[in-house]
Amino acid sequence: MTRFLLGLLLSVALGSACAQNTSSQDKRRSGFEDMGATTQAMQKDDALNPGMLWVQDGEALWKQPAGASGKACISCHAAAQSSMRGVAARYPAFDASLGRPITLGQRINQCRQQHQQAAPLRPESQDLLGLESYVALQSRGLPLAPPEDARLEPYRQRGQQLFMQRMGQLNLSCAQCHDGLPGKRLAGNVIPEAHPTGYPVYRLEWQAMGSLQRRLRGCMSGIRAEPFAYGAQELVELELYLAARAKGMAMEAPGVRP
């Protein structure tokens, strides 16, 4: 029995190690590894993963002309399978025209406004999450590769400061839980290490797809802080820091989380 259990544990550990970590030295754990077997199965099987419903939306929107230009994403970018491979793994990235970092969602909206002459999509709308998940899917399995861009450095540092900064009525910082107590429990839930490998994710609690910013805002209201608005510079900076922290971990989007 013990031997059987040990074998079982070993195979589970090996299975998840192969799925997540590129090197055996890497001690970082994706939230995927803390989920139950059924939720893991839901993420791994595209026929079960409800995030694929949003991917379908994104795929349709990719081909659908929008705005005054009459162009679709596909008109310039061709097939997303090749042109978008690895793109989501590099965001947030520095935008030279704005002189600041932007997220993948903001990049999609920028493209809509500048090249399609279409109205930007509302943050967390079904259409924007659809496009984000379709683009993110093309990077599945690739390592997170935040750009080595010196211009991003001050923003990344501010993101790190925000991560360490106590806030809200509970006076907690992100780091206190996610650096200090990962693997322990907050009420019934395992505290993850907060690696943004699976975003946008289908969260069972939301019964819907949501962005990393929605997740960050959820954590902020959890510590009774006033959440930053969608698209706020602070959230982009936090995303930048989290991406740097998870550099090299495998992308899982569209992820499923409890």
Partner: protein, 107 residues
């Protein structure tokens, strides 16, 4: 048009038990929740799901408010003859969605 994810084998041997798994994108609004304006959101759920295999009802289910959004239903049937499986979902506000899939049965 709702979005669906359907997973079923395209072919099977006669007498084989096949599994059909279907997810549909639907809010499944319970009718008990309040919206941002404080008013109760009207119920909007899928009420029935059924699967007909060459016209014969092989599986059906009733869904209620407690079922979460984007319901996933998995069931089994025995492959008897080649033909069509018709999956249909019906619900509030005249919601109706039908998806057909072909199953080829070999001897």
């Amino acid at each position: 048009m709702a979005r669906t994810l359907i997973n079923a084998p395209a072919s099977a041997r006669r007498g084989e038990v096949v599994e059909i798994r279907a997810t549909i994108g639907h809010p499944m609004e319970t009718g008990f929740r309040a919206g941002e304006d404080g008013k109760v959101l009207p119920r909007n759920i899928i009420q029935t799901f059924s699967c007909r295999y060459n016209g014969e009802l092989v599986f059906s289910a009733e869904l209620f408010s407690a079922v979460s959004a984007n319901p996933y239903i998995a069931f089994h049937t025995v492959a008897t003859d080649s033909g069509t499986l018709v999956l249909s979902w019906e619900g509030d506000n005249g919601f109706s969605q039908t998806e057909s899939l072909q199953l080829t049965v070999t001897a």
